[in-house]
């Protein structure tokens, strides 16, 4: 019986090609839209998360500033002693790096490139999740003596040396020559859209002596161990720095502690809203696809009712007619669902490439939208047929 009913269902699909095609189309559009939108949204979230992770995990950044209102004065920078205090007194900190920045033009023979020199220590590399692709980091003597050595990012190497290795070469910055001792692995764009690879790192003392000309430290980077509580480290940092900067009990901080988690929350919050928005648009198209299917099925209900009348009259059992219509609906809906999934995969890969975000295959959304569309197809293909099959044959034949 199943085989024969399958035959009848296939014949019915073939003889109603237009109706079959439109049903499939409705499912395809619904499935493809939802999956593509959600996949792109997930990809964007994933990309943002990856960018945030590339900044360094569990990273706190302490900057001077943020003191408003009357009697405010420019917040003083930190000193190396503050960095040492943080390093020695905050046990949960894995790496503590001072940062002094200075905008410069770096020159290699005829090529030059405007960039920012960061003066720091080897802790900067571990705090910022940097890896070396060639060369080495600073030696202790280089740091102590403030030698003219530097580790450069991918963009700087690219602009000054092309594809060649820069290790061992010298670049000129202002009036001094600086030996390139290492190259950093590329990190790409930051979550805020700036190029993280546009970077030159020198020992702190080198920058202080030759570029900034002061003992100031612009920022302190603190990397917490992966298990450590960011909140407690933050509280400790604030207490320590308030004390060192002699801030009274009812005075506001004149420094600011930011952590990557905060940044991450802000940014992923934005992409999550975006994903929801896309999802809502897609849900509407799923609905429109569903209404399309419903419409086609309802329009053909008169013809189908008469057809069912004919089948019943020549001796078909009610359940045979129903099974045929069920198979028909399931076949069409599944076909539409599979095409929709394939289309969504192609569109997602292409679009995520164009939009420069990660492609993340999400099995659950594929399954959910497939089942939902298939359910629409089956419900609207099957239930009108069921009503018709329950009629007396003569009533079904008389249906206008």
């Amino acid at each position: 019986m199943l085989w024969n009913t399958l035959l009848l269902a296939m014949r019915a699909i073939r003889r109603n090609l237009m109706r079959s095609f439109l049903t499939i189309l409705g499912v395809v559009i619904g499935v493809a839209a939802v999956i593509t939108m959600v996949t792109l949204g997930n990809g964007a979230t994933r990309s943002v998360s990856a960018q945030i992770a590339s900044m360094g995990s569990n990273l706190l950044m302490v900057r001077p500033g943020q003191r408003f209102g009357p009697g405010s004065e420019a917040a003083p920078n930190f000193k190396l002693a503050d960095v040492e205090a943080v390093r020695s007194q905050i046990g949960a900190a894995v790496a503590v790096a001072p940062v002094v920045s200075s905008a410069v033009t770096a020159v290699n023979q005829s090529r030059n490139w405007s960039t920012v020199v960061t003066g720091s220590s080897n802790d900067y590399f571990s705090a910022g999740n940097w890896e070396l692709t060639a060369g080495r980091s600073f030696s202790e003597s280089e740091e102590r003596a403030g030698k003219a050595v530097c580790v450069i990012g991918n963009t700087v190497r690219d602009k000054l040396f092309g594809q060649q290795s820069a290790v061992g070469a010298e670049i000129r910055i202002k009036q001094f020559a600086c030996e390139v001792i290492g190259q950093l692995k590329s990190k790409g764009q930051s979550a805020m859209g700036s190029d993280q690879d546009d970077i030159v790192v020198m020992p702190l003392r080198t920058v202080q002596r030759r570029l900034s000309g002061s003992q100031d430290v612009n920022m302190i980077m603190v990397s917490a161990g992966s298990g450590a509580s960011i909140d407690s480290i933050k509280a400790e940092l604030e207490r320590l720095l308030r004390e060192r900067r002699k801030i009274g009990d009812n005075e506001e901080d004149n420094f600011r502690v930011m952590d990557t988690r905060q940044i991450a929350e802000t940014l992923t919050g934005t992409t999550r809203i975006l994903t929801m928005l896309l999802g809502a648009v897609a849900a509407v198209s799923l609905l429109v696809g569903g209404i399309g299917i419903m419409n086609i099925m309802l329009v053909s209900v008169t013809e189908r009712t008469r057809e069912i009348g004919i089948r019943l009259a020549i001796g078909a059992l009610e359940r045979e007619v129903l099974l045929q219509f069920l198979i028909e609906a399931v076949v069409l809906s599944s076909l539409g669902g599979v095409i929709g999934i394939a289309l969504a995969a192609a569109a997602s890969v292409v679009l995520s490439g164009v939009m420069n975000i990660a492609y993340v295959f999400d099995p659950s959304i594929n399954l959910i939208s497939f089942l939902f569309s298939a359910a629409i197809g089956v419900v609207f293909g099957y239930f009108p047929a069921r009503r018709a099959a329950q009629l007396d044959p003569i009533e079904a034949l008389r249906h206008e």
Partner: protein
């Protein structure tokens, strides 16, 4: 076999459409016996209940009251599925409006009852082709109904009705939509089936010319049998 029961026996059949004040009694107690091999024409004015009784005989509709015995079995107490199986194995229908599946070839239309009977593909094709040949449509197997004339469509419907080799052929105004020439050809076909294959034929018609092919004429009036007489088959 003198005491043998007739193929079909209707006793006190009534059929009421609607309910309450709007109720309308289309059949007011029909008693009718039909033996195997008969060719019966059912006549009567429009609205006299001819189609209603044909639908009940064909198990397409159920009587409100009364008893209907087919080959000794009580149809009025059968389930839906039992009546469907009765149609599948013993009855063939020809309707005024042909009732073929649209966008479906003549061959597939004729095959349809055999599919429900679970006939294997090869014997099904052979039987359907033979039936089409018998109604004079050899070579038209692959044509859909909209590519066929009215007379041809009715032939396809007849082929579909006889492909299962039914005991009874029920035809409700089979020539009602056809011109005289086609009507006569269809009537020749039907009386041939009765004569050569022994199929019992019940046919509703308005036209005395068509009724002349039958050997028994039952006249209906206001939901009752008005007259019932036998006649010589037309030469």
């Amino acid at each position: 076999m003198t005491a043998a029961s007739p193929l079909i026996r209707l006793a006190g059949i009534t059929r009421t459409y609607g309910a309450g004040a709007a109720a309308f009694q289309a059949l007011n107690g029909i008693d009718l016996e039909i033996d195997e091999g008969e060719f019966v024409a059912v006549m009567g004015p429009s609205g006299s209940g001819k189609s209603t009784v044909m639908n009940i005989l064909g198990c397409l509709d159920s009587p409100t009251a009364g008893s209907y015995t087919f080959q000794g079995a009580h149809v009025e107490s059968m389930t839906r599925d039992q009546r469907a199986l009765l149609r599948r194995h013993f009855l063939g229908f020809v309707f005024q409006g042909f009732n073929l599946l649209s966008r479906t070839t003549a061959l597939e239309n004729v095959e349809l009852p055999l599919i429900y009977r679970g006939e294997p593909a090869t014997s099904r094709h052979a039987a359907a082709r033979a039936a089409l040949q018998q109604v004079g449509l050899a070579g038209w197997e692959d044509h859909a109904p909209n590519e066929l004339s009215g007379g041809q469509q009715q032939r396809v419907a007849i082929a579909r009705a006889i492909v299962t080799d039914p005991k009874v052929l029920l035809a409700d105004e089979p020539t009602g939509n056809l011109d005289t020439h086609n009507s006569c050809e269809i009537m020749e076909l039907i009386s041939g089936l009765n004569r050569d294959r022994g199929i019992t034929v019940l046919m509703v018609t308005h036209e005395p010319d068509m009724a002349a092919y039958a050997r028994r004429v039952v006249r209906f009036k206001d939901g009752r049998v008005d007259s019932d007489h036998r006649q010589e088959e037309r030469a």
